[in-house]
Symmetry: C2
Subunit: 308 residues, 2 copies
């Protein structure tokens, strides 16, 4: 049930209406690994960092059962850096600065001992890089999940179309689903997107939860209503980690089990937004994860009487 995670490991600097972070560790693959490691071992990481990336972070991930053989360290270069500012509603943000650094020419290499992995999570990255990992796998993984974003739809659409044909599940947010499909209705958007390759589609709606689509079926997962969203950075990646982590752990890729994966992902994401960066998801353990998942069960459970 080994899981490969591909994505950035990086630095972020974040401003929200509630405060401003220093330059802190972030990156899609960092969030995914922390989140997935609550469910599955080993998590096999593929990424690239510069000499500035803290060894203590790498050690902490390794202690959590994350295999770092696939993480290239380019001693003389700098890690990817992103800074952004969230608007008052915490659902939209402006990018203040992006420094690609080591990501500019990232050439991922799948280590030999990763080759038997059954699950592959392609975190948000250039579609050509995601495709390179898929092509290096000698055996098609049991399940490949892709995350992407609007930036690649605008700058690398033909690569993205190729990747979409190779994956089983696509995770995107609602505005990206609308952009990718040119449909406003999410039901119609899902239908169009599933024609592009993925058999399953998860549309993330932030505080409004997530939708899972398969053929003509839909599942709706709530988000946990929170008193305060402190920092939404990485919530989508944390969702992805919980989703594929749960599927890898249970080794069950049915639509029914994917519903539970969406709940596991939603539970993990609800932790992520409680503190800056990865702080909160580094803290949580099995007890807290189970208790949060139980909250999700209570949140949506009802027993209705169909009346005569």
């Amino acid at each position: 049930m080994a899981l490969i995670v591909v994505g950035s490991m990086a630095f972020d600097q974040i401003e929200t209406p509630f405060g401003r972070s220093d330059r802190i560790v972030g990156g899609a693959a960092t969030y995914i690994a922390w989140s997935a490691s609550n469910f599955v071992h080993p998590v096999r990481q593929i990424s690239v960092v510069g000499g500035d990336f803290p060894q203590a972070e790498l050690d902490a991930l390794a202690a959590r059962g994350v295999d770092l053989e696939g993480v290239q360290v380019q001693k003389d270069r700098k890690s990817f850096f992103w800074s952004g500012r969230y608007h008052m509603d915490m659902n939209s943000r402006d990018t203040l600065e992006t420094q690609l650094n080591v990501l500019e020419d990232f050439n991922p290499v799948v280590p030999e001992r990763y080759q038997d992995s059954e699950f592959l999570m392609l975190g948000n990255l250039a579609p050509a890089v995601q495709l390179s990992v898929i092509r290096q796998m000698r055996r098609k993984p049991r399940l490949t999940v892709l995350d992407t974003m609007n930036f690649w739809m605008e700058t690398a659409m033909s690569d993205l179309e190729k990747v979409l044909h190779e994956v089983d599940v696509l995770l995107i947010n609602d505005s990206e689903a609308r952009q990718l499909s040119a449909q406003y209705s999410l039901i119609r958007a899902a239908r169009e997107i599933m024609k592009m390759g993925p058999r399953y589609l998860v549309i993330k709606k932030g505080e409004h939860g997530a939708l899972l689509f398969y053929q003509d079926q839909v599942f709706v997962a709530p988000a946990l209503p929170l008193e305060e969203v402190f920092d939404p950075t990485g919530a989508g990646d944390t969702f992805a980690g919980g989703f594929i982590g749960y599927l890898a752990r249970t080794r069950n890729t049915s639509f029914e089990n994917m519903k539970s994966g969406v709940i596991a992902g939603s539970a993990m994401a609800s932790f992520c937004v409680e503190k800056f960066g990865t702080l909160r998801i580094q803290e949580v353990g099995k007890e807290e994860v189970h208790s949060r998942i139980r909250q999700f069960i209570d949140l949506v459970n009802f027993d209705i009487n169909l009346l005569d």
Copy 2:
């Protein structure tokens, strides 16, 4: 288990990105009555119409088990009229014209035979009118549910505060909850609003579903993902009718049963938006309502395995 419904019976003229209606029958109490009549009899209506209100509409409601003794007909005046235009997202709208007409000086009278009603639904109207009905009830109903809107928060807040102290459940939408509480977080908004009187609060979020609050508990109901929202007019009123109709039918006002009421309301609202005005909710019968409620069960049901 008789239910009193108070609210407008009126004419609407609606423009959406998909089309434009003629002057059609609408009004909060019209939608509520159609919706609630799927669950409970009698529905006892309190409203006012002008001589222009079609007798055929009144006859159709009567045939559905709606008692119209409390509906005043002012032969020489005109019914309330509203026209509006929905934006592309169908979640926001502009009012083009409002003619109060008979609503300007509406003085509701509770007929003697309504006095034994256990359930009272106060549809959106001036808070002073809602309060007048409450004061006329010789015995406090088992459950009083209030709908209101931002307009009354801006023009009649002190009356609204009085009504809030007299009701058990408040139904409002998310932007109204934020306005009423001066809190952005809906969790905090709910806490503030429940201090104003209602023990239960339903926050409607349109296509994103609804939240039910009671003490420190929350229930999240999805909206049915629809291929097309044709006309959202009356969806909130139709929700209210399904909600209180279900509670009145089951004569159970517990938090657990209120969750089912929210699902019944959501199911009814999902019909309402499929056609202009009340067209769709006039058509549906028990079979379709049950089948739609079953869709809601499938929509949120999952069976997660808490892992060791």
